[in-house]
Symmetry: C2
Subunit: 339 residues, 2 copies
DNA sequence: CTGAAAGCGCTTACAG
DNA sequence: CTGAAAGCGCTTACAG
């Protein structure tokens, strides 16, 4: 059997309360008492039983991260940052994949496993903004990520979608591109990444007094590489002319680049491309992809910080907060000015 | 407060033991008793407290997956498969990133968090085979993944490294390639992915009676995209001629392809390339990458199955098992015979 | 600064 | 087929 606090207490000649005090860094301890206990812990190889601690204190030190899928590089990189931020605070992370399914998201937020986690980082994809009130009844602290729900009943850490694509579009226009495609729209979507990113695109056009051309708005419903490739094939078949692309994520931008190159289109000479996410791959694609760095690291750090504060204070103790991470445009070869 | 078994028992008019029996699917229950309890659970929205269950039973339903980093697509896809397999068995997965650091791996295997997990899937990178005996003293059930430790004191689920690169090399030779590069070697490594994959390469050469040329063995220490790109630049600078590449993972193969294409080398006409891992991206690269599918899904499924059996029977109750997953060669454009 | 007692919510023998 | 009791290993008031 693994040793318990009682064993440590006996060996050190103190009560188990004192052992608990040492483990929990209680400050008013005689240095020699503390040392005796530490020695006993060392000798016995004692490790606290986290289930017992969890049962008694209501805290397990585990948070969950709900994301659509880890196989999307953006979410893998986000998960990496979240795990680093959590680790720095002594928290473990359980990852749950929702596939963006609303019902699965809800069951992950309320299911039996929530009894052993302190809080949830919830990257919303399936739940709709009108349903956000459902979150108010959940007593597990939640911090929302992503762009589906704003002004909900919980903390929310988001990226600057509109401002980012506005900057990307303005950048292409500043390079002299005349017909810039918005690549990745979801028709009818108002909020959500696609809707917000389209807003930014339109804002930049308006600002530059360039007429909005609906034929340059390309729908791409899923945002995997293959979807981008497929949409680009259709665009080329349609015969619509264009010389710039603002892709609403990197993967569809990369898929589109591939199809254009097969068709003999040169990047950036014929078409300049900007992506969104700054996934690692964009540094090594051919050509490397100019993209928006949406501030994943900051999002992860702030989200874990917010969640920790919620856990300490109670799920709904303080008013919901909104936080927007800083973004930047990363210039690479796909928009390099031809020399 | 959340409701407890006592609340359910009171509402249903039974003892808490009966509630426990219902929850744990004990078979000898009167259907009507069972239904009364289920109704009470439903009405109260009762969810079992997993910390309490963990404390009492010693099982938490959580396993951990130790991998070097989730940002490597291979491990992200492996984690995806592991989470699916675990989910199907009602298990949650905590992911821990080791960065391949030996000391961190060991501390993850024995640290305080192990008190709240039932078992560990350990993708070994830092620990060396001669240290495998350290695993024998760990009382948490462990299933090893990867290619650093064979015949250790725990179950092990691995891919067929040598047989895979042997098939890949033989395939390139069968296409008429004369100078095939082994791309990704680690000099001096005997076991480990790089060593085993180099073995397979040599076996295929021997089998085809092609002389082994050390100048065609290219060292790539880390296996990220940028490392492959760097190594390929050096290879091109060296002037060594080649017409085929067996890349020891997809990422370095993709990095190498990019550099070759910049240099005007045509793939597959001038150089045919085979990768290893079958990550999603290989389907959409330009050209798409012929690669080895090492059987990630089978590895994940068997590993979770083995771990669950270990958890049920005790960490060292049955003799250690070795399992090799089936692999396949996936033919794509990077080796397509020129028409 | 440290101790003795209670109890978190389950499951596990043990009865019957 | 179901019940009453004990106890898993901690932390939390409460004393002193």
């Amino acid at each position: 059997m693994a040793s318990t606090m009682h064993d440590v207490a006996k060996l050190a000649g103190v009560s188990i309360k004192t052992v608990s005090n040492v483990i929990n860094d209680y400050q008013y301890l005689k240095p020699e008492t503390r040392q005796k206990v530490l020695d006993a812990i060392e000798r016995l190889g004692y490790r606290p039983n986290l289930s017992a601690r969890g049962l008694r204190s209501g805290r397990t030190g585990v948070i969950s991260l709900i994301i659509p899928t880890i196989t999307n590089a953006y979410f893998a990189e986000l998960a990496d940052e979240v795990m680093r931020a959590a680790d720095a605070k002594g928290l473990s992370v359980i990852i749950e994949q929702s596939n963006g399914d609303r019902d699965r998201e809800l069951s992950l937020l309320t299911g039996p496993r929530t009894s052993m986690i302190d809080g949830i980082l919830y990257s919303v994809l399936g739940l709709r903004e009108e349903e956000a009130h459902l979150l108010a009844n959940i007593d597990t602290p939640i911090v929302l990520l992503g762009d589906r729900i704003f002004n909900g009943p919980t903390d929310h850490v988001a990226m600057q979608n509109s401002a980012s694509t506005r900057a990307a579009t303005a950048y292409l226009l500043s390079l002299g591109r005349k017909r810039v495609v918005a690549f990745g729209a979801h028709s009818g979507e108002v909020i959500g990444s696609a809707g917000l990113r389209l807003d930014g695109y339109r804002e930049a056009l308006a600002e530059a007094r360039v007429a909005f051309d609906p034929s340059l708005v390309i729908e791409v419903y899923e945002w995997f590489r293959s979807d981008g490739a497929r949409a680009m094939r259709a665009l080329l078949d349609s015969g619509v002319a264009f010389d710039g692309i603002v892709a609403f994520n990197d993967l569809i931008g990369l898929g589109a680049m591939r199809v254009m190159q097969e068709a003999g289109i040169r990047i950036p000479e014929d078409v300049a491309v900007v992506g969104f996410d700054d996934i690692d791959e964009t540094r090594y694609s051919l050509p490397s992809l100019t993209t928006i760095n949406p501030g994943k690291d900051e999002i992860a750090r702030v989200a874990v910080q917010f969640l920790q504060e919620r856990i300490a204070q109670g799920a709904h103790a303080i008013a919901p907060r909104e936080y927007l991470a800083a973004f930047s445009l990363v210039e690479r070869e796909s928009t390099a000015v031809a020399s």
